[in-house]
């Protein structure tokens, strides 16, 4: 017991000394961070948001769903949490009766990776994907009843990435064969975002026919935009999957994703590198880039400033914790609950069963004999009752016999 206390004292002494060493650094950091805290132009931001829009419906637009979902996967791989991604997916091709591979969406020919597997959170689905809901999402002018997950809760320290795909034309993008959003609408919505300081920087990416016309009307600051094809050009799909039977991805998105796949969370690649991969021959159209509205040139913006989470976690130093010797911790004891509940208890038979099941990958034969055991026991019961009946019969017979005798007597 005494030894343990000595050990604790030694440990705290060590901790304190190392704390003192790191102290000055921490203070400097906090001062620096406060120095830059309220300015938005220095590129400091605390969170990233992404709005991914697939605006077309129906089975033959499979590739648009796949574009969006592949982008979603990439963002998540780079660390953007689901709560900061607003995914608008207008048709559920995964559950389309024409889908030969139900509940899956693939963005490549070999069907290597299912994009529709676990952990997909579609915020706006099916008929919810309308021009109105998209513009309301950007501007934040929602009905009060709209839940948190359907809102873009960005602020002045957020970088926002908008990705759109679908069928478009000169200065418009079609939503679900039903309505269109025009470049003016989007520009006005973004201006409203800027006025309410809903973004620090904005990256607008669009993959559709004549895509570059869609960002031509922007007039708000700090926007970098890029599109797949210039005015009068189509944006083509990349390749088909013969088993799925439709095109699975668009060229522009395919090459973007191919590039992003090479990046990690700590990558220092800039948007200039990102734009550098555009090859009109491969993409079969002329991708456009517009950086005139942004005050920061693309070579100074990291790709991870938009794609990926912001690494800013503050670890509490040990000195902020209560020292193990302090009065408060003296009587802190965990109480062991003696009797575990049956359902979630340890070493429960059911748990054992499940563990064995998962570990061995095969069924424990003993468990499956249980019904048979039950059958045996029933047989026993039958035998028992038969014996009982027999015994009663015997008793009656035995009781009857003396009477007979007495009668006889």
């Amino acid at each position: 017991m005494i030894l343990r206390y000595i050990y604790l004292i030694l440990a705290t002494l060590l901790a304190i000394s190392s704390c003192l060493a790191s102290n000055s650094n921490i203070q400097l950091d906090s001062q620096l961070s406060e120095l830059f805290s309220n300015s938005t132009s220095t590129g400091r931001h605390t969170n990233n948001w992404a709005v991914l829009v697939c605006s077309s419906r129906y089975w033959f637009n499979y590739r648009h769903m796949a574009n969006t979902l592949a982008m979603y996967r990439t963002l998540k791989r780079l660390g953007l949490p689901d709560s900061n991604i607003i995914l608008m997916l207008s048709d559920d091709v995964a559950c389309n009766p024409r889908n030969a591979f139900p509940a899956t969406v693939y963005a490549n020919k070999g069907r290597q990776m299912d994009l529709y597997g676990e952990g997909i959170e579609v915020d706006y689905r099916g008929y919810e994907v309308t021009v109105e809901s998209f513009l309301r999402l950007l501007t934040g002018k929602h009905d009060p009843s709209i839940p948190r997950s359907k809102r873009l809760l960005s602020d002045a320290s957020s970088n926002v990435f908008i990705y759109m795909t679908g069928h478009g034309g000169n200065e418009f993008l079609k939503f679900q064969d039903n309505e269109e959003v025009s470049a003016y609408d989007v520009a006005d919505a973004v201006e409203q975002m800027w006025e309410k300081r809903r973004y620090n920087k904005l990256l607008f990416t669009i993959d559709t026919c004549q895509a570059n016309t869609m960002y031509s009307k922007f007039y708000s600051p700090e926007i970098t935009s890029t599109g797949s094809s210039s005015l009068g050009e189509n944006s083509y799909s990349h390749h088909n999957d013969m088993d799925i039977g439709v095109a699975v991805i668009d060229s522009f998105t395919h090459y973007i994703l191919q590039y992003l796949e090479t990046l990690g969370k700590t990558s220092t690649a800039t948007l200039k590198d990102f734009f550098g991969i555009y090859d009109p021959v491969k993409i079969q159209s002329h991708p456009g880039i517009s950086t005139s509205l942004s005050s920061v040139p693309p070579e100074e913006i990291l790709v991870t400033d938009f794609f990926g989470a912001v690494a800013r976690v503050e670890v509490s130093p040990k000195r902020a914790e209560l020292s193990p010797l302090s009065n408060e911790l003296r009587e802190s004891k965990w109480e062991v609950v003696a009797k575990p509940t049956r359902r979630i208890g340890r070493k429960n038979e059911d748990v054992d069963f499940e563990e064995e099941l998962t570990e061995k990958g095969q069924l424990d034969t003993n468990k499956w004999q249980k019904p048979l055991k039950d059958g045996k026991s029933e047989l026993k019961k039958v035998i028992g009752s038969l014996v009982g009946i027999g015994a009663i019969g015997g008793l009656l017979y035995a009781g009857g016999a003396p009477r007979d005798k007495s009668k006889r007597a």
Binding site: S18, S22, S33, E34, S37, N38, R44, T46, N47, G79, P81, D82, S83, G119, L135, R136, T139, K141, H142, D143, P144, P147, R148, R151, S157, S182, Y184, D185, D188, E191, Q192, E195, K196, A309, V310, A311, R312, V313, E314, V315, S316, K318, A320, E321, L322, S326, N327, L329, E331, S332, K333, W334, E335, V336, V337, A338, P340, G345, R346, E354
Partner: protein, 629 residues
């Protein structure tokens, strides 16, 4: 030019007519067609209907744009934060000063305080003057008996002669926490105490020590400018939800926490801090236990043979250290439901993570393996490892509130960071208070928020809200100017003018709390106006779209209407030219001409209307046309 039958004096049925005489085709036409004047009226009624409908169409399709108080919004740009001059009540224990020597004049306690107060204010002024940019002292001392009894000042300084004070220099000022129990000092909580040991009173430099201690502590507690809100803190929102979650990594493997005394822990550690904030924030608290909270990454095993246990390092040092970045992905928000999601208010999550047995003890990478980290604007995480002393044979645990002390101590600190509440303790300036009883050791837990901190919060949040409201209002004004299709309804206008009104009524004469409430309501209304769904009720279209909508509707109707009018006009012209030799009345001419044209035009279709048009025959016009012929 055809005319009606002159012999027919009044309207008769055509059947009767045919039986009497055989009419000419012209006569038949005249009979079955309505009179010329009537025809003109019918023709004109269509364009007239259109003209009448225009105001209605205009009213229903125009965008309501009520005027905003633009000039008042522009005037807000010059609005400055009101400077509030606080009063600090300065008192001292009777025997906190050395007794004057025999033969020297004896001064009243208050007089000594006044002279000391003068020294302190002069010292503070000098410090502020040297600062770049220069600051102004924004408080004054008041002394015993000068306080307004109805509205006592919340700021107090007291020099306390204290038996259990530290006997060494420098003095260690502290803020009086609320006292419980029988042994109370009678000092109001929140008072800044300069404790002095009886042995120290005879010191020659006592006055200097008092001065240094008071200047340091008051500078720390009452800064000249409100503290800025750092990025990690939440933006101001009147309603905040706190969600306490205990996460078992995997309870199926046993050795997990089944229950915790969360009520007691919150009561003990959080309520004292939340209670004083009741004017500023409205807290909602929820708690839950999760039994299955798997990690998305594999914790790395560190080589620590000295301890024996495989030490598992779960999350890693922040990215600035260049290490891996598992901490950001530590919170697996997609799989873990960390709050009920029942509100749209910002949620702060306090996560107590109990790793599964294979992962124990889980620690963060870094010097001396800290236990917790803070996620800006999100919440905080504490890694809680079950005690290694107990046999880890897979019991389930119950956490009494005493076992939660260490984690809640950190959660309290994180709450301060996340809400931008200034810390009370300032190394070298403000110290921990002594324990309430000399028998107990000094408590390391943070004491409840004092009035000094509340004042700072009010000031900084007032500034934040003021700026936010101003920016939002100016933004609304600019947007309404820029986007012509934006609707400005009554709600929006009322909200905007309400927000402006509240901002305008912020003044130095009001108390900081009143000003804060005004700013809070103002920013609330301004946001409500900005995010009003009606401002985007209709999708707006470029002009081409409008034409595209209206053309298919109106083109088919417009063609016969316009053609009819043109025909009438041409006929009238022709008539004018033809009849210019006559001396007839011009208006008559016009009417006749148009009737003539109408006759020709409608005669083809007029036959269909036979049954209805029979027998309508005003006689005077017929006579006139007869005279003309």
């Amino acid at each position: 030019m055809s005319t009606s039958d002159p012999r027919r004096p009044d309207g008769l049925s055509s059947g009767l007519l045919t039986s009497m005489t055989k009419p000419t085709p012209a006569e038949v036409t005249a009979i079955i067609n309505p009179s010329n004047k009537r025809r003109l009226l019918i023709t004109l009624s269509f364009p007239l209907l259109f003209l009448l409908a225009i105001p209605f169409w205009w009213y229903t399709t125009s965008i309501e744009r009520l005027p905003l108080p633009v000039s008042r919004i522009d005037a807000l740009a010059n609005l400055s934060i009101p400077s509030y001059r606080g009063k600090i009540l300065f008192t001292a224990d009777e025997d906190a000063y050395p007794k004057s020597a025999p033969g020297r004049p004896v001064f009243e306690n208050k007089v000594i305080c006044q002279s000391l107060g003068k020294v302190v204010t002069d010292g503070v002024d000098v410090i502020y003057e040297r600062k770049r940019p220069q600051k102004k002292r924004n408080w004054d001392f008041i002394y015993e008996g000068e306080d307004d009894p109805r509205n006592p000042t919340p700021f107090r300084v007291h020099i306390r002669r204290f038996q259990h004070a530290n006997t060494s220099w420098p003095l260690e000022p502290y803020v009086q926490p609320p006292e419980k129990g029988l042994m109370t000092s009678g000092i109001k909580p929140g008072t800044l105490i300069i404790p002095v040991h009886p042995d120290q009173i005879s010191d020659r430099n006592l006055k200097l020590h008092y001065k240094i201690a008071m200047i340091n502590s008051i500078l720390s507690l009452y800064p000249p400018d409100p503290p800025t809100i750092p990025l990690r803190a939440l933006k101001y929102s009147p309603n905040i939800t706190l969600s306490f979650v205990l996460l078992n990594e995997d309870s199926t493997e046993g050795s997990y926490v089944r229950s915790w005394e969360i009520d007691d822990a919150i009561q003990e550690h959080f309520i004292p801090h939340l209670e004083p904030l009741k004017d500023i924030f409205n807290f909602t608290i929820e708690s839950q236990i999760l039994y299955h909270a798997p990690l998305t990454f594999d914790p790395t095993l560190s080589d620590a043979p000295a301890i024996g246990d495989p030490q598992i390092e779960a999350a890693l040092e922040a990215a600035r250290e260049g290490d891996e970045d598992a901490e950001e992905v530590f919170v697996n928000s997609e799989r873990w439901s960390l709050d009920s999601g029942s509100t749209n208010n910002p949620v702060l999550r306090f996560l107590l993570y109990v790793p599964k047995e294979k992962h124990r003890p889980m620690k963060l990478v870094g010097q001396d393996s800290p236990h917790s980290f803070l996620l800006p604007q999100f919440g905080s995480v504490y890694l809680l490892n079950p005690p290694s002393t107990q046999p880890s044979s897979g019991e389930t645990y119950h956490l009494p509130s005493s076992a939660l002390t260490s984690s809640f101590h950190l959660f309290t600190q994180h709450l301060y960071s996340l809400l931008a509440i200034p810390e009370l303790y300032d190394p070298g300036k403000i110290h921990l208070p002594p324990s309430s009883s000399p028998l107990l050791p000094r408590s390391q837990l943070w004491q409840p928020i004092s009035s000094w901190q509340i004042h700072q919060i009010l000031e900084s949040r007032l500034k934040e809200n003021l700026e936010e409201s101003k920016k939002t209002l100016i933004g609304i004004k600019r947007l309404v100017d820029k986007i012509k299709e934006m609707k400005v309804g009554k709600n929006v206008r009322d909200d905007v003018s309400g927000a402006v009104e509240r901002l305008e009524s912020i003044s130095s004469a009001k108390s900081p709390l009143e000003n804060f409430i005004l700013s809070r309501d103002s920013v609330n209304l301004a946001n409500k106006a900005f995010f009003d769904p009606s401002m985007m009720g209709l999708l707006y279209f470029p002009d081409e779209h409008k034409f595209a909508v209206y053309t298919p509707l109106f083109a088919p109707i417009a063609v016969p209407l316009l053609l009819g009018l043109i025909k009438e006009f041409i006929a009238w012209k022709r008539k004018r030219r033809g009849g210019s030799g006559n001396n007839d009345d011009v208006t008559d001419e016009k009417a006749e001409a148009s009737i003539g044209v109408e006759d020709e035009k409608i005669s083809t279709i007029g036959l269909e209307e036979e049954s209805t048009s029979v027998g309508i025959e005003p006689s005077d016009r017929v006579l006139r046309s007869r005279s003309k012929g």
